[in-house]
């Protein structure tokens, strides 16, 4: 409405914005816009700032608000709520990102950055003029949570949730709960027995009335939406009747003729095809390994309780849950990838996890540390640290955190059993950061005489008799090359994400960090949330950490999930399309565009929208040729107004209009800014929920209005938050390029690219390369001029 008065609030964010952007110049420029009230504030998100905001809305009788500050992905809710408290509909607020996408990535170009900030704010104002009130959308969440992974993280989260009266499904793919913690001998820095403190928790979980444990199970598909996820679980057959088996294991396993390496003991000891993974397994039931069972049925004949059942088949279980916690843990680095250490070539080169099994009193050697080559006690043991960590040559530049303290603990355990043994640890750095860890190191050095050498081992070879190993390393503190004769070498292997993490992430629609672990919403403030409401992460799947941090993290995830499902109502995105039957030509292209069946066609009423099935991607809106379908808060008119506003003043060449999807493209741009990656100022970003929202008309409008280039950045096609949204955008753009070519505009001016939310550098490169390319192509229209000139 023309009588609308728009309030523009520009935040300094301390010096984060004000240090680069000339706020005074922005204020002067914006004040000249019609029907606009503008003011600045040092910290708009502070209590004082928000009060000021609310006060001004009332005083100045503002009908719409523009917040020019940090990324909406950070404080959108906060400001909408503040506007609501001041009496405005919360969706009459538009956000302009002048921090992550302006001051931070353009720190050394203050003038250009200020010009860009002005253009972005003008864009925000023109959109705000066209905003109309939208009602918040609510749904009820199911009071049930799925926890994927039955290790210490999953167990902790499950117990926390159950104690709040929330139903939990705990899904574990192994035949027993416990994860890696069950395999460890003692824990640092207390040296208490790992399985002893874990087993009671495992029992508690299995007996808890609110928790349903599904072992031998994996999640195969996830549909639905936050608050109501439809999950399909595949439960593999145990071939053992869970009611009848008492886990005695003696009789059936004795009769089994098959012997294979026992995975729980890292292959250091055999097990039968019918086996109990370890004595404290939960559930305490035998399990038959179908890959190695030869079907002789000796066990069936022998079992006095008639507990073997070869008729069992895989079960598909479908459940509806309100939230999901991913607690799938880690795998250890494959030491064979460092061939210079000889793992796999020399039997006396073992990994830290294999050592844990040797140390364990219920392990293959009943707790005796021996050389695998000859079963004798070792006299000199050398630990090599950072195997597969802090190592770009194997693609793992990160530190795995726990290995320093773990090796110190293992060294102490060895010295306790073999006091005369000489134990060396070859550290690159000693990272004993946790509570009591530094004191633990002192104990190791002073009370146990463990020898510390600073230097990364370069190779492990055998000596001339072939019975001893030679570890070669530079002692960097003395500058000498050392060759240490050892009879046992322990490789302190790093932690890597489980091999199925990519598939799982895709299934859930969440992102991985650059190291392959799952991405948290914010590393400091939201470590157990993901970008998707209702999906949380717990434990090492978010990144390497020790057990105490895992437990804290898991309780945090449980609280996040409880918070979500216990609310009377949860808020959903309000971006369900609106329908104007008068404009509808009944072409039904929208029905075709929707992959979710959210649109149905009725001969009389026209298009019927099922709001609970609608995900809000906007693909149907972009497909509609008449504008009968439109998307609230991202209407066609609003976006066109943004395009025109930003191209009003072409203050730099080339000028690129960029459509960035909320989940990946926009997030990556934010990430680039947050990590202070610098890139050229030549882009004007427009946020959309999904690149599928971008219609060909918008792109053409951008070129008509003078954009030298149009950039569309969305998720990688297989990661699209709306599954097929990006692929739709790709197809539209490739068709549009042909059209551009036909009318004489260079199709290279239109570019579509993918990033994931954490690919800040990639986003910056895309912008840099596009700017260079457009410089070569010249301003828009220059190709037409040349044509007419002959």
């Amino acid at each position: 409405m023309d009588s609308d008065k728009i309030g523009v609030f520009i935040c300094h964010c301390g010096s984060n914005i004000a240090g680069v952007i000339d706020i005074k110049r922005v204020l002067n420029e914006i004040a000249r816009a019609p029907n606009v009230f503008v003011m600045d504030h040092t910290y708009l998100c502070s209590k004082e700032g928000l009060n000021e905001l609310k006060r001004k809305i009332a005083e100045e009788k503002l009908s719409k608000v523009v917040i020019a500050a940090c990324s909406p992905r950070l404080h959108e809710r906060l400001f909408r709520r503040a506007a609501e408290e001041a009496g405005l509909n919360p969706f009459l607020v538009e956000f302009v990102n002048i921090r992550e996408q302006c001051s931070w990535p353009h720190m050394y170009s203050p003038t250009a950055a200020t010009n860009k900030a002005i253009a972005l704010i003008k864009m925000g104002i023109e959109k705000a003029r066209l905003l109309t009130p939208i009602q918040r959308r609510y749904a009820r969440a199911k009071k049930r949570v799925l926890v994927i992974g039955g290790g210490v993280a999953g167990i902790t989260a499950a117990l926390s949730l159950a104690s709040l009266g929330i139903e939990v499904y705990l899904v574990e793919k192994q035949p027993t709960l416990g994860g890696h913690m069950a395999m460890l001998d003692k824990l640092f820095p207390t040296l208490d027995c790992s399985i002893c403190i874990l087993a009671p928790l495992m029992s508690e979980v299995s007996e808890h009335p609110m928790i349903k444990v599904l072992t031998l199970s994996e999640v195969t598909s996830i549909k639905g939406r936050p608050g109501d996820f439809e999950v399909e679980i595949l439960k593999r057959p145990r071939y053992v009747n869970e009611e009848k088996c008492v886990g005695c294991i003696e009789i059936c396993s004795k009769t089994c003729p098959v012997e294979v390496p026992n995975e729980f003991d890292m292959g250091l000891r055999p097990r039968k095809a019918i086996y109990l993974p370890f004595p404290q397994a939960v559930p305490l039931l035998a399990v038959i390994d179908p890959d190695h069972c030869i079907g002789c049925r000796n066990c069936e004949d022998a079992c006095e309780r008639d507990a073997i059942d070869f008729n069992q088949t895989p079960e598909r279980i479908r459940i509806h849950v309100g939230a999901i916690i991913v607690a799938t843990g880690y795998e250890t680095f494959d030491a064979r990838l460092k061939s210079e250490y000889g793992y796999g070539r020399y039997p006396d080169v073992i990994t830290s996890l294999e050592l844990e099994r040797l140390l364990s009193p219920s392990g293959p050697t009943r707790g005796r540390v021996v050389r695998l080559s000859n079963g004798k006690e070792p006299r000199r043991i050398v630990f090599i640290q950072c195997v597969g960590s802090r190592d770009e040559s194997v693609g793992n530049p990160y530190c795995s955190r726990i290995c320093c303290t773990a090796s110190i603990k293992e060294a102490i355990c060895i010295k306790e059993r073999i006091p005369d043994a000489e134990v060396f640890i070859l550290f690159q750095d000693i990272r004993t950061y946790g509570k009591g860890y530094e004191e633990f190191l002192l104990k190791a050095m002073r009370d146990f005489g463990i020898k510390i050498i600073r230097g990364r081992a370069s190779s492990v070879t055998a000596n001339e008799n072939g019975d001893d190993l030679i570890v070669r390393a530079e002692n960097t503190l003395t500058g000498e090359i050392m060759e240490i004769n050892a009879d046992l070498v322990v490789l302190s292997v790093g932690l890597v994400p489980p091999s199925d993490t990519e598939d799982l992430a895709r299934m859930l629609g969440i992102s991985q960090s650059s190291d392959g672990f799952l991405l948290e919403r914010h590393p400091k403030l939201a470590p157990s949330e993901t970008m998707i409401q209702g999906i949380y992460i717990a434990g090492t799947i978010q990144g390497p950490k020790d057990i105490q941090d895992t437990v804290a993290h898991s309780k945090s995830a449980a609280l996040d999930a409880a918070n979500f499902v216990l609310h009377e109502k949860i808020e959903l995105d309000p971006y369900v399309p609106t329908y104007n039957p008068d404009l509808c030509k009944r072409c039904r292209l929208c029905e075709e565009a929707c992959d979710w069946g959210a649109l149905t066609f009725d001969k009389e009423k026209g298009v019927i929208i099922n709001s609970s099935a609608c995900l809000g991607c906007g693909a149907c809106v972009a497909a509609c040729p008449t504008g009968a379908l439109d998307m609230p808060y991202f209407t066609n008119q609003q976006i066109i107004a943004q395009i025109h506003a930003t191209l009003e003043n072409k203050c730099e060449f080339p000028l690129i209009v960029a459509f960035l999807c909320n989940w990946c493209g926009y997030a990556a741009a934010d990430f680039a800014g947050t990590t202070k990656i610098q890139y050229p100022t030549n882009i004007r970003p427009i946020r959309v929920m999904c690149t599928a929202r971008v219609s060909p008309l918008m792109i053409l409008e951008a070129f008509k209005a003078g954009a030298d280039g149009v950039l569309v950045v969305g998720c990688h096609p297989q990661d699209c938050h709306y599954r097929t949204g990006f692929s739709k955008a790709e197809r539209r753009i490739s068709a549009l390029k042909k059209y551009l070519e036909n009318v004489g505009i260079n199709p290279r001016r239109l570019k579509i690219a993918s990033t994931s939310a954490s690919e800040g550098e990639r986003f910056a490169n895309i912008v840099r390369e596009f700017v260079e390319e457009l410089k070569k192509l010249g301003p828009i229209g220059s190709e037409l001029v040349m044509k007419s000139a002959g």
């Binding site: 950072c386 990364r456 081992a457 500058g479 090359i481």
Partner: protein, 186 residues
């Protein structure tokens, strides 16, 4: 009382040395390749892998450290700088991706340009300029070739003198002949 000579005093170091190395090498390998020297975190994998390291005082890790500290004279005039066999084992194993061998070569180039070139290497270079080969043919080997049924002179520049003129032209353009003290008569 001045500090002991064993002490490194920052005022006596050349903080521009690293940049000099990076600049020089950038022309050949590109900046990114050369800037890897700044990523060195002194783990010692390079020295530990070095075949020269375990029988001489040469420490690859120390060369990187000293270069980063700006100990220019020490690095350029050290004997050990010439003990690297360029076996590339450290290059393959470096966990930070430091391009060790290439960096050593660049430092050697800088040392050579500042007049610290080994006489043995100058000799080899002069032979190349004179004959087109790093080792010249001798009568003994002419005989051996003949006895085997091969051509007396190998079918390379030894048999095709115009090619040698070409190479000499290139070397003169690069001023390499001056660098190694090659005179037309010698």
């Amino acid at each position: 009382m001045s500090a002991s000579e064993q002490v490194i005093q920052l005022e006596k170091t050349d903080p521009k040395f690293v940049e000099e190395i990076i600049e020089y090498g950038s022309k050949i390998f590109g900046r990114e390749h050369m800037e890897t020297i700044t990523a060195c975190f002194q783990c010692g994998t390079c020295s530990g892998s070095c075949p020269s390291g375990r029988r001489t005082a040469y420490r690859t890790r120390l060369v990187m450290r000293k270069a980063l500290l700006g100990l220019k004279d020490e690095v350029l005039s050290s004997e050990e700088l010439w003990y690297c066999t360029t076996c590339y084992t450290c290059y393959e194993r470096c966990p930070r991706g430091v391009r060790t061998t290439d960096i050593i070569r660049v430092i050697r180039n800088i040392a050579a340009k500042s007049g610290r070139m080994k006489e043995q290497h100058k000799r080899v270079a002069r032979l190349l300029i004179r004959f087109g080969h790093a080792v010249p043919i001798t009568d003994e080997f002419k005989e051996i070739r003949k006895a085997l049924g091969l051509s007396e002179l190998p079918p390379t520049v030894h048999s095709y003198p115009e090619a040698l003129d070409e190479v000499r032209k290139l070397i003169k353009i690069m001023k390499f002949d001056q660098m190694v003290g090659y005179q037309e008569s010698g």
